[in-house]
């Protein structure tokens, strides 16, 4: 039943905080080269899911397979080394460092593992070159030597993606990379994500903005109150009455059905 092309397989994943069931028996697969959207109202458990996949939380039960290997319970730095890059809902750059340094920190990934390699110099022409290439991908070259703390939100979101890209990830987890962005910045971000997928990176994204998610994602998983409510193509999801109810409440479905016709 499980798809052979799946890069990430989530099975019966649960996370309880005391009595609160933040995520309850959620399963889904993410295929190679796919953009999978994780949708749901506030408090649906999307970020908790992310935090389990990226190793911040240990799941209460269930399993996470990345490339068919169990990764639940590993720590965040191990996940980063396995090739999972992530961004955060609330952007967190290394504020007092320059944009370039922020990228170089990620480029050091392989060097942090042994004492011998971590005593190498971090600033060399090669790393600088590599970092500039990544900044070019996320169109931040002009800001390379600015302190990251002074950048506007849109640039910071791209910087976070750049920082994740420097890990050479196979899977990118994007936590609301579009929120708080102006319209034209949203379309830039869409272009960026599509270009990454073309390079063979799979993307799991949390999105609040239904319009963006529907346009960008190949498939969508909808969570509500910690449970999986629906899964399918954006078209299926848009017409799913349970999803509409979860977002707009009961009665909303009638409104949505008439207005979207």
């Amino acid at each position: 039943m499980r798809n052979d092309r799946a890069i990430l397989q989530i099975s019966d994943l649960s996370k309880h905080f005391g009595g609160l069931k933040a995520v309850e028996r959620v399963s889904f697969d993410l295929l190679e080269g796919e953009i999978l959207g994780l949708l749901g109202p506030n408090g649906a458990g999307k970020t908790t899911c992310f935090n389990m996949i990226s190793g911040i939380y240990k799941p209460t039960s269930g399993s996470i397979l990345f490339h068919k290997k169990r990764t639940d319970g590993l720590s965040p730095h191990q996940m980063a080394r396995m090739g999972i890059g992530r961004t955060f809902q609330i952007v967190r750059p290394f504020a007092t460092m320059t944009v370039l340094e922020n990228i170089i920190i990620s480029l050091g990934l392989q060097n942090y593992q042994t004492i011998g390699r971590s005593s190498k110099k971090w600033f060399t022409p090669t790393t600088r070159q590599k970092a500039m290439e990544i900044l070019e991908q996320v169109s931040l070259c002009g800001l390379a030597f600015k302190k990251a703390g002074i950048l506007p939100l849109g640039d910071l979101r791209r910087l976070e993606i750049g920082r994740a890209l420097a890990l050479k990830p196979e899977l990118l987890l994007l936590d609301e990379s579009f929120s708080g962005l102006r319209h034209e910045k949203i379309s830039e971000m869409e272009k960026l994500i599509l270009s990454l997928v073309k390079k063979g990176i799979s993307v799991l994204l949390i999105e609040h903005n239904m319009k963006v998610a529907m346009k960008l994602c190949h498939r969508v998983v909808v969570l509500d109150h910690g449970r999986k409510l629906a899964e399918g193509t954006p078209e299926d999801i848009a017409s799913d009455t349970r999803v509409i109810e979860a977002y707009l409440g009961k009665g909303g479905s009638a409104y949505y059905a008439t207005s979207s016709e």
Binding site: A80, R92, R117, W122
Partner: protein, 288 residues
């Protein structure tokens, strides 16, 4: 004039030792946000181990090495079993446990080595330097050479190497650092190893400089180094080092030239209060 220069050099030596003690404290505060009072306990233990090993083997190099290794282990143990489990509580919880630990370590030294002052009389095996009429004693030369080497090595590690970059990243934001593949626990271990090893060296140098090792030798350095990381600007390692050097020189000169009937440490704290009134964010802290 010669007296002034010699006084200043003595002050610089005292300041270098303060700086060595304060380094560990500044590094730990930078990464965990814990005021590591027990650091002065590690310094005392380091001095005693150095003294003991020297008394047994007669080798100063051995004394320093054993002291560094033992104190590194002690530092990592404190971090693993006391600070780390307490990090989820408000900052005064690790602080109080750190104070308790410091007192415990002092009492432990008293129990094991006895309450009396041990005289640690030897000269550091360094050459005596002479410029015109100024003579720098071997011990003073040794203190300058050793502390300068430590500062340089540490400066190189923190600013130039991948490890230093990872340390800076971890101290800014541990979660993000781990999301880019940095093992925060390991970085914290390394910081405790470095800081505690340096504290051991400081303890041994102080023992040799003042010719004595005693259980309460850490008390005044504990308060002073706390004040110094505040004066230097919390979280700024260079700031703490510079503040420590300035304090050493200032207190030695004040004792030597100003006829103030106050003990040395009182002057030191008055000087630090004055600096904080003038710059509450510390000498090198970011704007208030």
């Amino acid at each position: 004039m010669y007296l002034f220069i010699e006084q200043s050099l003595n002050g610089l030596a005292v300041g270098s030792i303060y700086a060595l003690i304060t380094l560990g404290l500044a590094l730990v505060y930078g990464i965990l946000g814990v005021l590591h009072v027990a650091h002065a306990g590690i310094y005392t233990v380091g001095a005693y181990i150095g003294y003991g090993v020297y008394a047994c083997t007669g080798s100063l190099v051995m004394a320093i090495l054993v002291g560094m290794v033992a104190c590194s282990c002690l530092g990592v143990l404190i971090e693993r079993f006391i600070y780390f489990p307490l990090l989820k509580f408000p900052p005064y919880v690790p602080l109080i446990s750190s104070i308790a630990l410091f007192m415990g370590m002092e009492e432990f030294c008293r129990l094991v080595a006895g309450p009396s002052v041990r005289t640690f009389s030897l000269e550091l095996p360094f050459p005596e330097l002479k410029f015109l009429d100024i003579v720098i004693s071997p011990t003073l030369t040794g203190i300058f050479a050793i502390s300068a080497t430590i500062f340089l090595v540490l400066w190189f590690i923190t600013t130039k190497t991948e490890l230093g970059l990872a340390m800076r990243a971890t101290s800014q934001d541990m979660d993000i650092a781990s999301s880019v593949g940095i093992d925060g626990h390991r970085i914290i271990d390394i910081i405790f190893i470095l800081g505690s090893a340096i504290a051991a060296v400081a303890g041994i140098l102080v023992g040799i400089y003042y010719n004595e090792v005693y259980p309460a030798m850490g008390t005044v350095p504990a308060y002073k180094s706390l004040a110094l990381i505040v004066v230097g600007g919390l979280g700024s390692v260079q700031g703490a080092v510079i503040a420590a050097l300035l304090l050493g020189i200032a207190e030695t000169l004040l004792i030597g030239y100003a006829n103030i009937p106050l003990p040395r440490d009182a002057l030191a704290f008055i000087a630090m209060i004055a600096v904080l009134l003038w710059r509450p964010q510390g000498l090198f802290g970011k704007g208030a």
